[in-house]
């Protein structure tokens, strides 16, 4: 059933984000042209195209965050929940589908950002410079283990942040009134709790034993600990959502 939920959930987010990606890429092309072949035409247009590019990037980020929150809130706890919550699927499958879909679109937004970078390079006439770099030599020098660890911490960190928002919304919905205010209060509460946990773990596990700034092994160990803590906290948020949705659901 998770696959079926994703079949409908992924396009539900994409219908708003894909047009924004297209707009973002178009502004990247315009910026590339302005800083490249058309540079001498008008400095004013360079500023305008840079502003357009920044505005498009901001719109993508804002829309992604708004849609991720809105999809969870409306479809599982709002009016649409009267449709979705009577589908024969478990609460955990609903939450997992929302989380996976959110993650996918966050990652696609990152890919879109990389694409806009390439587009700017292409349209500005500097694209061929990419081939001047000795990629084989560069790639052979990369510390892949550290890179993978940092990537994992980033991906799971974003997932955990999404689950934190979901947990805050679900807790907020337990309030009899002013549910949005209650959700914001819950979010602040979870942030404070998380900060305490993070600081405690960091002090006990990391800095006491490893010299992070001078040793790559120390940095890797810190990333590993961060990864474990991030996943553990994410799992706790998932269980909070699941418990409240399964045992305390009260749609008004």
């Amino acid at each position: 059933m998770l696959g079926k939920l994703l079949k409908y959930e992924i396009p539900a987010l994409g219908r708003r984000l894909v047009p924004l990606y297209i707009g973002w890429i178009a502004t990247a092309a315009l910026l590339g042209l302005m800083v490249g072949p058309l540079q001498k035409e008008s400095e004013f247009m360079i500023v305008i195209s840079a502003l357009l590019y920044t505005a498009a990037a901001t719109a993508v980020v804002v829309m992604a965050v708004v849609m991720i929150i809105q999809r969870y809130n409306n479809s599982l706890l709002g009016d649409e929940a009267y449709f979705n919550q009577v589908l024969p699927v478990t609460a955990s499958q609903h939450i997992a589908s929302k989380t996976i879909s959110a993650m996918l679109w966050v990652l696609l937004s990152m890919v879109a950002m990389a694409v806009t970078g390439i587009i700017i390079a292409m349209f500005s006439g500097h694209f061929l410079d990419i081939f001047k770099v000795n990629w084989l030599e560069f790639l052979s020098k990369v510390d892949w283990l550290t890179v993978i660890l940092v990537l994992l911490v980033t991906v799971f960190g974003i997932t955990q942040s999404v689950l934190q928002i979901y947990a805050a919304i679900t807790i907020g919905r337990q309030a009899k009134q002013h549910t949005t205010l209650a959700a914001i209060g819950a979010y602040i509460g979870l942030m404070i709790a998380e900060t305490f946990v993070g600081r405690g773990v960091t002090e006990v596990m990391s800095f006491k034993f490893y010299d992070v700034f001078n040793s790559i092994a120390g940095f890797r160990m810190t990333m590993l600990i961060a990864l474990v803590v991030t996943i553990a906290i994410g799992v706790i948020y998932f269980f909070i959502c699941n418990y409240l949705m399964e045992k305390k659901l009260n749609l008004n």
Binding site: R15, A81, Y82, Q85, V86, P88, T90, K248, L249, N250
Partner: protein, 231 residues
């Protein structure tokens, strides 16, 4: 075993008691009218039966099971509001129903949509409120479910559609299903009811067969309702 068993079901919202120790047993093969004025607890009862509200006390059993994934497979629910995603069209919604409900009868849904003059490719957001209600009802009634929970199915539609809906409910009636219709428009549905439940301030004040009421009191269900709930 009764298809639906409700025991000492209580639901409180703060100091307000929406349902007060409700007990009911509903058998398959009948159309039940869940009747009561606004605020009597009809919607709350249906929402608990769908697992959308958590009861304060008591229990609901459908085929002997608490509301959950297994009961949702056999319960077709029409809520009292438009709950369909507004970015989808009729065809996409049928695809979704087909994906999630094994008992969804697509050809029946297509026929109902055509009968009601709905455009299969029209997005929900371009539909009027009444059209959305019709579509929602088509999707629900196109399931070959064991339990139909219909919350105010005829409240927001025109008289012609009302007749069509009632005909659809009767034609869907089978020996294995129970249909519960919550409404206060009793005169419109009285002719299709087998069983009648009166809810008043969260309590069951009457549960009888419609025919029995007419024989015992010599009155229609509608007239009796007006007497019981006189303001």
């Amino acid at each position: 075993m009764a298809r639906i068993e409700i025991n000492h079901l209580t639901k409180q919202f703060g100091s307000l008691t929406a349902l007060d120790s409700v007990a009911l047993q509903l058998e398959k093969g009948q159309i039940v009218g869940l009747l009561g004025p606004n605020g009597s607890g009809k919607t709350t009862l249906l929402k608990i039966m769908n697992g959308l509200l958590t009861p304060t006390a008591g229990s609901v059993k459908i085929n002997g099971m608490d509301p959950g994934v297994e009961t949702k497979k056999v319960v077709a629910y029409l809520p009292d509001r438009n709950a369909l995603p507004d970015y989808m069209n009729t065809k996409q919604l049928m695809d979704l129903y087909e994906d999630f409900f094994v008992d969804f009868n697509r050809s029946k849904a297509v026929k109902m949509v055509k009968d009601l003059g709905l455009d299969i490719n029209q997005p929900m957001k371009k539909m009027s409120k009444g059209t959305k209600e019709k579509l929602q009802l088509c999707l629900v009634m196109a399931r070959d479910a064991q339990v139909y929970l219909l919350d105010e199915p005829i409240g927001g539609v025109d008289p012609a559609t009302r007749d069509y809906i009632l005909r659809t409910i009767i034609s869907n009636y089978n020996e294995d299903a129970v249909v519960i219709i919550s409404t206060h428009l009793i005169s419109d549905i009285e002719s299709v009811l087998d069983d009648v439940v009166f809810l008043k301030e969260g309590r069951v004040v009457l549960h009888k067969q419609a025919e029995e009421i007419r024989e015992e009191t010599g009155e229609s269900v509608d007239k009796l309702f007006r007497e019981v709930f006189r303001c």
